[in-house]
Symmetry: C2
Subunit: 356 residues, 2 copies
Amino acid sequence: MAKQSMTYAASGVDIDAGDKMVSMIRRHMTRTYGPRVIEQHGGFAGLFRLDYNEKLFARNYKDPVLVACTDGVGTKVKLAAEMGLYDTVGIDLVAMSVNDLIVGGAEPLFFLDYLAVNDLDPQQATDMVKGVSDGCVQAGCALLGGETAEMPDVYSKGEFDMAGFAVGVVEKGKVIDGSRVERGDIILGLSSSGIHSNGYSLVRAVVTKKKLKLDKVYDELEEDRPLGRVLLEPTRIYAKPILSVLNRYVRKRVVTAMAHITGGGLVGNLNRVLPKGADAKIERKAWTIPPVFRFLAKHGNIEQQEIDRVFNQGVGYCVVVKPAFAASVMGQLEDAGETVYWLGSIVKGTGKVKIV
Amino acid sequence: MAKQSMTYAASGVDIDAGDKMVSMIRRHMTRTYGPRVIEQHGGFAGLFRLDYNEKLFARNYKDPVLVACTDGVGTKVKLAAEMGLYDTVGIDLVAMSVNDLIVGGAEPLFFLDYLAVNDLDPQQATDMVKGVSDGCVQAGCALLGGETAEMPDVYSKGEFDMAGFAVGVVEKGKVIDGSRVERGDIILGLSSSGIHSNGYSLVRAVVTKKKLKLDKVYDELEEDRPLGRVLLEPTRIYAKPILSVLNRYVRKRVVTAMAHITGGGLVGNLNRVLPKGADAKIERKAWTIPPVFRFLAKHGNIEQQEIDRVFNQGVGYCVVVKPAFAASVMGQLEDAGETVYWLGSIVKGTGKVKIV
């Protein structure tokens, strides 16, 4: 009997399927390209020109600092896999890194994604990259590169994970780090689009344990979409409205701190940019908690303190602003399409966020 | 009966364990920092100063291009998990992206990692980051940030995945892209340290199907280490020797193309930087195939063509160099500690790599 010859394909990895997908995702990448992306045949890496000698760049940047972030979307990927919907979690992926990037005042330049799947289904992978590309368009950055890894033994059938990586630039003297926060500064909150990309292990535990149905429309959610679609709503990307505010007040520097509200909630994120002697005092009645959070709290019988620590509860991003400019910044963000809450103000304290 | 209140911890995610780990990994990050890293308390992102106005940077870069890469280490993570050895795959992770980055002539600046685990064991995660940190020191770049995601439902107990992101910089006029490759150029090969980080699904299939023992020392491997340790040998990082060659010949530009030999082998990677009318003609007897590849080919009964397409077979990186400088570059790489093979030369052809 002849020995059976072993091949890479038989061990679960298909190089040809990978090549096919590369050509399918190409247009999703090129639509995000500006003139600064340098295209290279067969390249090993993505190239992005800084245009240091161009007038616009030289005017804005005397001492440029590169800013970089990485993040995934947690077990929201699991929910997407369960529902077989692969074309929106890419937006979440971009949002998670880019919303972190702009916290320091950086302008997003480019993004790269890492997708890991059980089995390289070119359509599924293309859907994922389409989402990433949509997110990059929303954030105004180029999808400069990516990697799709086929790992049959690490991921189960239909399962996947994704990681994102964003790079931006900020002028050194204009880095926003909370050090200029003063008592009396106003805290504005930008509404989230839903649960965003944190707390999904708890969300899914509630769904499973309480036998909730992802395809059912629940009255308590106060909308026509079934629960699964509400839970999968992509994370809002705040890059464009925030950068427009920063660019408008480029000299006055009216924004003293910002925070992306992720795992840890308001109490565990806004505190990260507070100086030692200051508290953020936020009024619970200052904003409306969207139905989906009340729905999860009720069905999961989750305590308020736990809710505060895990979910954004309707506020996805905070801007701390000098009081004289708070109303103007609020108006500008609203004009850019944001729903903005006047959450509270900075008071004397010990670096904590207090929701009263 | 009181309803049981649901918490994030009970759903498998432990925020406190995450906080503990962050402090444990800190020293592995800071040892990679140079003066260009800007440290920020509680920051949402990593900051890296480009030093545009410093003399050294201004002398080297008139029109800087950022170069970015992302990659994982494939199912080598699965082998590491099976062996319970977590402190070397981080080196592979850095190698996979950084070796791609330098192909275009870029100097690595910083790196970020994404680790996804079933259960946040702070020691295990710290071991992983230690490996990444070791890799960054070898590559001469800063470990600027990272994310550790606890995803109990996506990864099985003890399983994990990792993705890496590297950013570098190259002067626009000095990008190496193969376009200057000419007939007669010499192809030098730098020895790999082993299988590197590609082909592990096939490696593991051979191990499982042929009931090979990871803890056994096989005579055919011609070394004292057991099979598992040989298979887990970290990927060689070529950044420092390659950059030293490029910096030495900064005006003469004697290097016309480079290739990182990953999945696809010599035939599927060196071809990516060949101009249309040129072939790379490589002599099979020009280099020594290390025992581990012969071992896998024999036990797996893998055909030569498949071997050529999947594994590096002992050559991890290629440098194409003008003939008059080939011996000198070879000597310089050897002085830097590399084992270098004179593989062959560029001949008239159609953009293919031919091993004869």
